[in-house]
């Protein structure tokens, strides 16, 4: 096996099949580590990682920070609300100032698509994209696929449906790339107004009937309606959306087969998924959260192994 082929994790599209294997295998070992009484390894004790969150996040930020700490890296956190961005500083200036403090790796979340790539081209550090606008969220897709593989085995030929607000979802895009790279068949389903026009060009099936999508799939990834990214009304009412696209026990029972249920969080209980379903045996939502730390440890560890500024002993 070779080292990971990329210097930055900007998106799923850049990863090779071998990269997926490497990330998943490494994450499996880290999952064992985080279930030990002492959940740490000393691998990154001489590295510093900056988490730059230009957009709100709870789960992803905590998950990255925990992953970094479990690897013994030093961590600094930055969020826009407390920063000089508000004083007019550019992104590159902000990041270069942070790098001048001898930071080795940057985890960035930003509301603008392409910001992680822009940074990778303009600053001298390794970049991990923790979500850039409606573009990609690669670690989420990796942890979703890792969790699915734990439940369903090899994803080759498996049917995975992504339901809900696809058009605003970086999780959906990254998942489509990752699932397809792993050989799964993907369907997106939601109201037409929330499905992107280019969907078919991504090689996915498109469906507007939730029951048909459920009948087709082995697992379903329920997305949240991203009201914060909507400047117009995409559907008449939350009640109507929930009636047509909310996952309920009745709908699952009507298809008479078990399906695995994922949700990237945060869950709007009673809108896209009912509490009953979210807390059911087939939901792997909390596994996703646990695997998130292991996957992020793997990504950080594998990218860090490429920072070779120390001469060979």
């Amino acid at each position: 096996m070779n080292e990971i082929s990329v210097n930055h994790l900007l998106g799923i599209q850049n990863l090779t099949e071998k990269d997926f294997d490497l990330i998943f295998n490494t994450a499996s070992q880290f999952k064992e580590v985080i279930n030990r009484p002492i959940k740490k390894v000393p691998s990154l004790r001489d590295l510093t990682i900056a988490n730059l969150f230009f957009e709100n996040s709870t789960r992803t930020k905590l998950s990255f920070e925990l992953a970094e700490k479990r690897l013994s890296a030093d961590v600094i956190n930055f969020s826009t609300s407390q920063s000089s961005i508000k004083k007019g500083e550019t992104l590159v200036d902000t990041v270069n100032n942070i790098l001048a403090m001898k930071v080795d790796m940057i985890v960035i979340r930003h509301p603008h698509a392409g910001s992680a790539k822009f940074l990778s081209q303009n600053v001298n550090s390794q970049i991990i994209n923790a979500g850039d606008g409606a573009h990609e969220h690669p670690t989420q897709a990796l942890l979703d696929c890792f969790s699915l593989r734990e439940r369903l085995g090899d994803l080759k030929g498996k049917h995975i449906a992504i339901i809900g607000d696809i058009i605003h979802s970086r999780v959906a895009i990254s998942n489509i790339f990752a699932l397809k790279a792993l050989g799964a068949e993907v369907m997106i389903c939601g109201p037409k107004s929330l499905l992107p026009k280019y969907a078919e060009s991504m090689g996915v099936n498109v469906e507007i009937d939730l029951i048909k999508a459920l009948r087709w799939c082995d697992a379903v990834n329920m997305l949240r309606v991203q009201n914060e990214r909507m400047n117009i009304n995409y559907f008449p009412s939350t009640r109507e959306y929930s009636k047509l696209y909310g996952l309920t026990n009745e709908k699952i029972q009507s298809i008479r087969k078990p399906i695995t249920i994922l949700h990237p969080g945060p869950i709007n209980r009673g809108v896209e998924i009912t509490s009953e379903v979210a807390d059911s045996e087939n939901a792997i939502i909390l596994d996703q959260v646990e695997n998130g730390v292991a996957i992020r440890m793997a990504v950080i560890y594998l990218l860090a192994s490429k920072i070779k500024n120390i001469s060979s002993a």
């Binding site: 096996m1 070779n2 080292e3 490497l22 295998n25 490494t26 499996s28 070992q29 880290f30 064992e32 580590v33 030990r36 009484p37 002492i38 740490k40 390894v41 000393p42 691998s43 990154l44 560890y301 860090a304 192994s305 920072i307 070779k308 500024n309 120390i310 001469s311 060979s312 002993a313």
Partner: protein
């Protein structure tokens, strides 16, 4: 590369029996002992020793584990060789136990140092010992010596010692690869 046979199946078998007897002498019925094979190659030696202890010497209950030291290595970001993590399976408490680390070849001692650090993250054993099949003497970077030793050999830097086991290979054999 030129391969030379250092130990053939018969000699390895004699060594394995001797090592098992030495373990028996010091660990008795193995009640409080945990044998830990180091990934990736030490686990084969562990399996063979456990097989002998069970089948030839009647020890019914041998506690075993596998330990991968990749994340504890001191050459991360320094070595040209890339190490990939393998499974760690430690299903027994290490606290207060007698631990025997088992590896096929002892060279610089850095893997064993990593293993000692890794064990430290699990708890505080009463004793940690080291069993190796081959000791490449005069090559140590650290003050680490085996407690149970198959055979000592002299090999220069650049030589590679390769241990092969059945059923992965046709027979048990230890080779030394010399750079031609």
């Amino acid at each position: 590369m030129l391969d030379r046979v250092l130990l053939d199946e018969l000699k390895i078998n004699v060594l394995l029996n001797r090592l098992s007897c030495q373990l028996l002498e010091f660990h008795g019925d193995f009640t409080n002992t945990l044998l830990i094979g180091l990934q990736p190659r030490g686990i084969y030696l562990l399996d063979r020793i456990v097989e002998l202890l069970k089948n030839e010497y009647g020890i019914k209950d041998v506690k075993v584990g596998k330990l991968d030291t990749t994340f504890y290595r001191d050459d991360f970001r320094r070595s040209k060789k890339i190490h990939f993590a393998k499974a760690t399976e430690l299903n027994f408490e290490v606290e207060g136990r007698k631990i025997v680390l088992i590896d096929d070849v002892l060279y610089t001692g850095r893997s064993i140092r990593a293993a000692l650090t890794a064990i430290d993250y699990y708890g505080r054993p009463s004793i940690i010992e080291l069993l190796v099949l081959i000791d490449r003497r005069f090559s140590r970077h650290l003050p680490i010596q085996p407690d149970y030793l198959g055979v000592q050999i002299d090999a220069i830097e650049g030589d590679k010692v390769r241990v092969e086991w059945r059923p992965e290979k046709r027979s048990d054999c230890v080779y030394i690869e010399k750079e031609s």
